[in-house]
């Protein structure tokens, strides 16, 4: 998996769609751009008359298109466009959906965005400083950008977007932060013997 693919933050569904559509001739960037366009137009049109059901269907179409590129190595000349596009797509959509479905839940939406931003920055900075990205199970547990967007649609359809955002922010926040802390503890431990042998001496003295 390339770093660019890690930055995409696809969930299990996105990976599945990507594997199923390996034969599609379009590049990952084209797919992402077309998908974003579809959703952008939908979100712009989604003034109050557009029912949430129709919006959800359009989200599903956009996910199908964008996720089709998830298993490509992202070696295209402009593949660097894809991850920022996906960030804008997901965050922008969550904001738009909250405004449409439950404007009062905006602070909760903001809280969830903070949690997601933490996860996405953490991915980049850990790859940079630990030389390994967060584990694949974490991306799967986070649902991926496509999983979170569809889940938000379902919550909105069920009329529980506000509580859903709160639960998602708390659960994902706890998960992402805990996993990072554990990874740093592990990283510090793994690095110690390689760096220095004299910590054992200190322990002996303490005993």
């Amino acid at each position: 998996m390339t770093a660019m693919q890690v930055y995409r933050d696809d969930g299990p569904l996105g990976a599945l769609i990507g594997r199923a559509s390996r034969g599609v001739g379009m590049g990952e960037t084209t797919l992402a751009l077309v998908g974003a366009l579809v959703l952008g137009i939908a979100a712009a049109l989604a003034l109050d008359p557009l029912p949430l059901g129709a919006l959800t269907a359009l989200v599903a179409v956009a996910v199908l298109i964008v996720a089709a590129g998830s298993q490509r190595p992202h070696t295209g000349r402009v593949a660097w466009l894809v991850p920022p596009l996906l960030r804008g797509l997901e965050y922008g959509f969550l904001i738009r959906l909250t405004v449409l479905a439950d404007r009062d839940a905006m602070p909760l939406c903001f809280a969830l965005l903070c949690v997601l931003a933490f996860h996405h920055y953490d991915t980049v900075y850990r790859l940079r400083h630990q030389r390994v990205p967060p584990p694949a199970w974490l991306r799967a547990a986070g649902g991926g950008w496509e999983g979170r967007m569809l889940a938000a649609c379902v919550l909105a359809l069920a009329g529980v977007l506000g509580p859903g955002l709160l639960v998602a922010a708390l659960a994902l926040g706890a998960l992402f932060v805990t996993e990072t802390v554990v990874s740093w503890v592990r990283f510090a431990r793994a690095e110690r013997p390689a760096a220095l042998g004299d910590d054992e001496d200190d322990e002996v003295q303490d005993a």
């Binding site: 770093a3 660019m4 930055y7 000349r77 402009v78 593949a79 660097w80 466009l81 894809v82 991850p83 920022p84 596009l85 960030r87 804008g88 965050y91 922008g92 904001i95 405004v99 905006m106 602070p107 939406c109 903001f110 809280a111 965005l113 903070c114 931003a117 933490f118 996405h120 920055y121 953490d122 980049v124 900075y125 850990r126 940079r128 400083h129 630990q130 740093w184 990283f187 510090a188 390689a194 760096a195 220095l196 042998g197 004299d198």
Partner: protein, 605 residues
Amino acid sequence: MPRSESLTGARPRPARTAHGRSRRPVAAGAAGLIVATAPAADGGAAAALPLEGTTVLGQLLDQLHTLGLRTAWVLTRPQWREAIDAVVHTSGIDVRVLASEDLVEDLRVAADVAGEAPGTLLVARGDVVTHREALAGLLADPRVVSGVLVGPSSAGAGWCFRARGARRRVVSAGSPFHRVRNSNFSFLGFLKVDRRDREALIAAARRLAELAADRPETWEDELERKSAEWRLERWRAAQGDDRPEPPEPAEWPRLPLDAEAEAYVALRRRVAAEDAVSLLLVGLVRSDVDLAMSRLREFYYARPSSEADVRRSLDEMSAIDEDKVALDSAVKAVDGFFTTYFVSPYSRYIARFCARHGWTPNQMTTVSMAIGAVAALAFAWGTRAGMVAGAVLLQAAFTIDCVDGQLARYTRTFSKLGAWLDSVFDRGKEYLVFAGLAIGATRGFGQDVWVLAAAALALQTARHTLDFTFALGQRGMVDATTHMPLEHAADAPVRAGVPADPEDAEAGEEAPLPPAPARIARPTLKQRIVRMARVVLRLLGRLDRSRSGRWAKRIIVLPIGERFALISITAALFSPRVTFIALLAWGGFAAFYSLTARLVRTAAR
């Protein structure tokens, strides 16, 4: 095993110096291969030139000893062995002196030493006068795993070979027998090789020894070419203000020089021909070893070749305040406008204050985050007083945030967790302040700005992601460099008929020639786009020529200093709504600008 004897990566307790800075000689236990084979003008060893009660080599060994070097092999010529023997045992380093007949043997010895030395190996020239801090930047910086000390092209007054670097990595290096296209640095003769790259060093040294024993024609040609250039340089200097037309390159080797200049060119050629260190660097670079570049900064560097040179070097060196240079260079060389002019001028003194009190960068990072959180609370209060207090606190948090990086560079205390914390807390502070402002807007201004706050967060995160992924693509391009085999003097195949620069014109035959590009009568759409992109790129590049142009380009992208200043000013004077609208407007324009510039850059390739 006592602490000082432990091998690679040891973390000895910081020792305090007169300045009170904590020094962390992380190279503790490192070994050195000091090459003292360069002749001085008087025919002795340049490394053995006397210097204030010791010698050039003696001072260098003392400096390296304080940086954690424990064992060293000093390589010299048989006739200088006694002179070198007499000077090396004054330092605390366990020194073995080895005599070798010529360059070929030097390289073989280098391979043997590389196989024998434990831990990190420093390959260095023994005839250098420089500041200890300059060497510390290479040896004691844990971020430099394997790397070299480099200076501006003028460093070493021409007694050093050039190198080309990209993204702080060496991509091409020169030697007496190798040339560099588009060089942008000088290699100063200090090469730090991590244990992991030891095998590559051994292999390169062996291969170079083979080649040096039976020099390829291109090597001989390259040394002749360089000698001719040095002759031209002296000849031109002798012409004074007349500035006559430069003669044809074929004439250069026969240009008339006075006796002094003649001796200079001859010495320079002799010194060059002994330069095993530069050859080893070329060997490593061309076997694709990742070498970081540690810069000389404003420290002193010279390779004196006579006693008069040494005296002059000492005078010039003592005119430089080592601690001031260390502190100034702890400030990021390239930073935002606001940070450079409104924060760094005083934050560096806070950094030094922290260093003297033994405060660590991670403590400063945490303090900065805490102040940022208090600023968010003040903003959340919603009153005018709260807004002003938040604005001031946010600036305080930003200053401390600059301090932690400067403190880390000044004391060379770098940790991976620290770097991660610094980055994550930067973002954390910013988004926490967004939340504080949104709450304050509801409480004190009757404004609902949550959508604007969320949009500002989304835009900033997407902009950062664009920076990360674009850099990732660029790194891929550097990694993809293919290196020429060592027997070639040139560092890249020269394209048929289109040399990269005029100097390379005559080197055309030695490299394999790719097929000439097919001529196309009408430009295709793709070619037109590429051409147009190059024009736009040239226009953008024109901005770099002026200072204000360079700053404008940096301010447009709304870096962190400008962002925090914008938040503080708009929140203190106006309202949270104005803050978010300003962030979205400027940030949106910044996103448009950097996206366009990067697309153009990509298209122009």
